[in-house]
């Protein structure tokens, strides 16, 4: 057990080191922070932002004499902002996961990993932990922005709600990255891996919408598979075990399929 843990740590550290040395990683993180900062500002303080809407609502309420339905600014902001972050992740996660195995295959280093006394799933777990850690690093600055914004809210917001929402974002990312890792293990072309992962995420994202147009058990199953639905649950502060189980299943499925595909598919490409 100690040996396996040691192997996972070795792979994990190698992956992290890889991100530090990779220009692509810096570019992705930079673009993500830029876009996230822009959306943060626009949603909070922009002309159509939450605060403007709340002010407008107050004004209308005074003019019409009837009280306007109250707007819970911090929670509303969190919902919209993390919704946008989820969509942004849709574009960024395939780029993070595309090279996980495709690059190893292309550089021939998969041959090293596959002939070392390390199990395939230990490699897969180490890689997934590495890329999820990188994603968490990308999300951390957002927490700082929010902490500043929420500190001004009156009455004060409960810290568990934004924390749960971000746990949701990270779980969502881990699930997508795990599946993306599996797709990456099927090919030696990073671009192809990114594109296929993107298609898969779009499908899992909108399967809720598709489900609504299909009735019967098929539609129901599709609805449950939807990432969007379960992500929104967590963002709204609803801690539902079925959501956690769904994300965990996607993560385990991705790791499992990756380990299997390395066993089965390396044979056909040489």
């Amino acid at each position: 057990m100690g040996v396996i843990l040691g192997n996972i740590v070795a792979i994990y550290r190698k992956e992290l080191q890889g991100y530090f040395a990779s220009p692509l990683a810096y570019a992705i993180a930079g673009a993500f922070w830029l876009l996230a900062g822009f959306f943060f500002l626009a949603i909070l303080l922009g002309p159509d932002g939450i605060i403007q809407q709340a002010a407008l609502g107050d004004l209308q309420g005074q003019q019409q004499g009837a009280p306007f339905p109250p707007l819970d600014v911090p929670y509303e902001f969190l919902r919209i902002f993390l919704g946008v972050m989820g969509s942004l992740a849709l574009f960024i996660l395939p780029i993070l996961s595309m090279g996980l195995y495709a690059e190893e295959r292309k550089r021939g280093t998969l041959e090293l990993l596959a002939t070392s006394p390390v199990t395939n799933w230990a490699v897969a777990v180490g890689k997934l932990l590495g890329v999820v850690t990188f994603f968490i690093t990308m999300v951390l600055p957002l927490l700082a922005y929010e902490a500043i914004a929420f500190s001004a809210s009156n009455p004060p917001i409960q810290p568990t709600v934004p924390l749960l929402a971000h746990v949701g974002l990270i779980l969502l990312a881990a699930a997508v990255l795990s599946l993306g890792m599996f797709i990456s293990s099927l090919t030696d072309s990073s671009i192809l891996a990114a594109f296929l992962t993107f298609l898969l995420i779009v499908f899992l994202w909108v399967s809720d919408i598709i489900a609504k147009s299909i009735s019967g058990p098929v539609g129901e199953v599709l609805g449950h598979l939807s990432l969007l639905k379960h992500y929104n649950n967590l963002v709204q502060g609803i801690l539902d075990t079925s959501s956690l189980i769904l994300f965990a299943s996607y993560i385990v499925l991705g790791v499992f399929l990756t380990a299997q595909s390395i066993d089965a598919l390396r044979f056909q490409r040489s």
Binding site: A10, Q17, R107, G108, T109, S116, P117
Partner: protein, 318 residues
């Protein structure tokens, strides 16, 4: 130490290797020689556990490469055809990573990495990013990663590709110095490499083993006796008739030599095994009134052996 029996591998419907059987004794260096595309890399990959065989068995240190894959992986060091390197790591960082991956205990790791770097002449480059190394140094890092955990069996797929002549000599000496403690199998398509480093040679062609022996025995086996090259003035056919009479002569043939002066020809004579009929050849030629301009003994090279073995096979298959 390494035992391969009736190994076959088919990609789709094309056979890569067929019925390959050989064995490597502990401490031995076996050269796996063959033209490009003969199935060397496929065999190496099966031994390293990277590919499964279609049929047949291979075992290393008593463990079956397919059944006991983990035990086999612990006992081998493997340099694939393209050295598996992470270009963003430093030489030392990469070797530490590989050592950890191969299960070297953390207290031994630094020492073993240092010793591998020393043996591969990498000490001065240990803080350099692999990306910035020349091809020769990368190849050496590849060899270092194969020996860093002191495995009993080392599998090297074309270890000297891309090196300059001086580096090739260094690598050959390194490989020779590893023999004894380690059992080594190395593949190559370069002939001198085998005669210089290996204690035994297996020649593979079109996926089949055509010979296994020591380099000396192979040369002896093919060439049979001693060869002579003669430069004589006269008709090649007449000379052939004169020399074939000798019982010690096995073969007489004319070698095309367009740059010789007119009327002269170049003749190759191969003696029967154990015979040395140089004096008789000379006296017969002179006795027949022919002028002998040059006569020298030739030793069959491994190259002849290789060509003969791989050509024969081509003829059989054609």
């Amino acid at each position: 130490m390494i035992k391969v029996e009736h190994l076959s591998k088919t990609y789709g419907s094309t056979p890569a290797i067929q019925d390959v059987t050989f064995a490597v004794q502990p401490g031995e260096i076996l050269g796996f020689l063959g033209p490009n595309g003969a199935g060397k890399t496929t065999t190496m990959r099966i031994l390293a556990g990277y590919l499964p065989a279609s049929s047949g068995t291979a075992s290393i240190a008593g463990y079956d490469v397919h059944e006991d894959s983990m035990a086999v992986r612990r006992s081998i060091g493997y340099l694939p055809e393209t050295p598996p390197l992470y270009s963003e790591m430093t030489v030392e960082g990469f070797l530490l990573f590989v050592a950890q991956l191969k299960g070297v205990k953390s207290r031994d790791r630094k020492r073993k990495v240092y010793s591998a770097m020393e043996r591969c002449n990498l000490i001065e480059k240990r803080k350099v990013l692999i990306r910035k190394l020349s091809k020769g140094f990368r190849q050496r890092v590849g060899i270092a990663q194969a020996i860093v955990h002191d495995p009993p069996v080392i599998i090297l797929d074309e270890p000297t590709v891309g090196l300059d002549p001086r580096q090739i000599i260094e690598v050959r000496n390194l490989i020779k110095s590893l023999a004894g403690e380690h059992t080594i199998i190395l593949s190559t398509h370069i002939l001198p490499e085998v005669s210089m480093t290996c204690s035994r040679v297996t020649i593979i062609n079109r996926g089949r083993i055509v010979a296994t022996n020591t380099p000396e025995n192979l040369m002896e086996q093919i060439a049979g006796g001693i060869g002579y090259e003669l430069e004589v003035e006269g008709n090649a056919l007449t000379i052939k008739k004169i020399l074939q009479v000798l019982p010690e002569v096995r073969l007489v043939e004319a070698i095309p030599a367009p740059d010789l002066p007119e009327k002269r020809c170049l003749i190759r004579v191969v003696s029967e095994r154990g015979a040395e009929p140089g004096d008789k050849i000379a006296s017969r030629l002179v006795g027949a009134g022919l002028s002998l301009y040059e006569m020298r003994r030739t030793v069959a090279s491994l190259e002849d052996v290789f060509l003969e073995l791989t050509m024969e096979d081509t003829l059989v298959q054609g």
